[in-house]
Amino acid sequence: MPSATDADMTSPPLSSGAVAVRADGLTKRYGDTVAVDALSLDIHRGEVFGLLGPNGAGKTTTILMLLGLTEPTSGSALVDGIDPTRDPLRVKSRVGYLPDEVGFYEDLTGRDNLLYTADLNRLTKTEGRRRTDELLAMVGLSDVADRKVGGYSRGMRQRLGLADALVKQPSILILDEPTVNIDPEGVRELLALVARLSDEHGVTVLLSSHLLHQVEQVCDRIGIFVAGRLVALGTVDDLATDLDQWVFVVGVAGMAEPATVLRAVDGVHDVGHDDDRLLLFAGRDVRREVQLAVSDHGGYLTELTRRGADLDTIYHRYFHDPGES
């Protein structure tokens, strides 16, 4: 529960208002290819925003533009109220960034890697030491802090990367594909940390991923990004509704031809098979209708659950025409 100090922390810095990140017609072209196409987007202070899209959709390019590391071809961005193209240093001083495939100096210890980042952010020696110790404890790396990074596992590197992004005490945290290549347990730990940073410290988080099911539970809102364009934006449930895609897992017994019966139910678009169960694709919540239809035909339900807005489905819907899936 937030204490008084927590409440202070979550109060936004003056002047920046409720929008942490704003993109306005942000466009990046490389020659003839459009990497990011007129992206307009507001990310609210304190929310966890997921930028979802397949590899090569322009997620990393967008992030680099927000950090002022590459210049937009046209359009503009405001990060914490600052234009990253004009004033990249001020943006970079308040945005923590965990790059895709984060790397460290292999010959330095985890602690020394973080201390270098602290130096680059002009923390004093004592401040840097204290902050580094706290963060190493937070990500659970205190025990290995004095070992060379060369011996770290991928999951440890990712957690060290998160600590590294937090050294500067950012108000905004940008994580590029943070869950790639780490084991499920590592993913769970990392996302729990992200959720805690957001809840307890009010840090605004922008994370990109191509695996919706991994990140959907931590994201307040998501944007679906395909071929440089934002094709959908909202909460996971909103998106599922907008997409006419409610997916239910149905187990039926005691009746013949359940698929045919269920396909006839009003609101159901399609029926698929998943092992011995059925998958219902619907435009709204049809559980009541399904229940009635099954009992009308003398059967009974062994299972009827909603499969949490299935991004596979959303993906399928949006991604099947762009080259990559």
Binding site: D6, M9, L89, Y97, N121, K168, Q169
Partner: protein, 340 residues
């Protein structure tokens, strides 16, 4: 567990939001932070130790072999000016003189501290993290160049101090004040010469994605410019200014002049001429002297400023070479996308 003691917002002090001016002051001189880290890396690296030992051993061997004849002739040569400096330039028994050794081995120092400077960051994936910190992008390459020069300067100073001390013990005499000034001038030129090689290898590390490719390219250039330059210059001279069997002295001279001109395309030659003049106050020319000119020259010693004037264009060429190579590395680095 969680860092509750501090605010997660970027406000460094709770009473005021940082103004742009505040941030400008706070975030200046980022290159020094990069340089400090890189310098510490260099000095603690195995390659630094290996190169230091290599150059020190070569230097000791050169000074040792030079000191023998000096000792033998010391009694009869009391009028010889700057006996101490002969330690660095005398090369009896086919052992190269110290300054020649440095001309050959010095580039290795420059190459060693630069060839993986930028592509190493890319390979380890540290570059995106580094550029996301509040430093200007050019401060990364500036800091790396500064750190490399510092490491080179430190290594050279140690080696020159070591061999000077050894030479002083062998000869039983120390350097005079003007010897010290000339040794320092020699040191400065050697640092510039090696900085040129550092800038070259830095450029290669920006251009080439792989450190091994950059190292190989740098070593190939080093071999061509230092070890094979004489051969190549000879071939070029013989091709374009052939010396026939019935050659006149003009033919021979033309051949030698062309050979020297070609050799001067190598920084090694420029370095040798400049340091040769600086370390030898009796040297009155850097070019070719025919015998009669040599006979006409009055045996005398030059003050340092005269020696500097004699070698000024070699010095300027070395500095210009280093600047141009570093500028090329800088511009290429600034134009590259962050993502490899």
């Amino acid at each position: 567990m969680v860092p509750t003691s501090s605010t997660p917002t970027a406000t460094t002090d709770s009473s005021s939001v940082p103004t742009p001016d505040h941030d400008i002051i706070r975030f200046r001189a980022g290159w020094r932070i990069v340089a400090r880290k890189e310098f510490a890396d260099h000095v603690h690296s195995v390659r630094f130790v290996i190169l230091l030992v290599l150059v020190a051993l070569a230097g000791l061997a050169a000074v040792h072999s030079a000191s023998g004849p000096i000792r033998d002739a010391a009694d009869s040569a009391t009028q010889t000016p700057s006996v101490f400096l002969l330690l660095f330039t005398l090369s009896p028994e086919r052992v190269p003189a110290f300054h020649e050794f440095l001309g050959i081995l010095g580039p290795l120092l420059g190459i060693a501290f630069g060839f993986d400077a930028v592509n190493g960051e890319r390979a380890q994936g540290t570059l995106p993290r580094l550029v996301a910190q509040p430093i200007h992008r050019d401060e990364i390459i500036n800091g790396k160049f500064a750190a490399g020069i510092s490491a080179i300067a430190l290594a050279l100073a140690s080696v020159i101090a070591l061999v000077s001390a050894y030479g002083a013990i062998r000869l039983g005499i120390g350097p005079t004040q003007s010897d010290l000034v000339r040794i320092f001038a020699f040191y400065a030129v050697a640092v510039v010469y090696i900085a040129l090689w550092l800038a070259l290898s830095l450029l290669l590390s920006v251009v080439s994605r792989r450190a091994s490719t950059a190292a190989l390219a740098a070593i190939a250039i080093w071999l061509v410019l230092t070890l094979f330059a004489g051969l190549i210059a000879g071939v070029v001279a013989d091709t374009f200014r052939d010396v026939p069997a019935d050659a006149t002295s003009e033919d021979v001279l033309a051949n030698a002049r062309l050979e020297l001109t070609v050799r001067r395309l190598s920084p090694d030659q420029l370095y040798k001429e400049a340091t040769g003049v600086l370390l030898n106050p009796t040297r009155q020319s850097t070019g070719i002297l025919v015998l009669e000119q040599n006979d006409l020259a009055l045996p005398s010693t030059l003050p340092l400023d005269q020696s500097l004037i004699l070698a000024w264009w070699q010095l300027i060429s070395l500095v210009a070479g280093a600047v141009v190579l570093f500028a090329a590395a800088y511009v290429t680095f600034m134009r590259q996308e962050v993502r490899a």
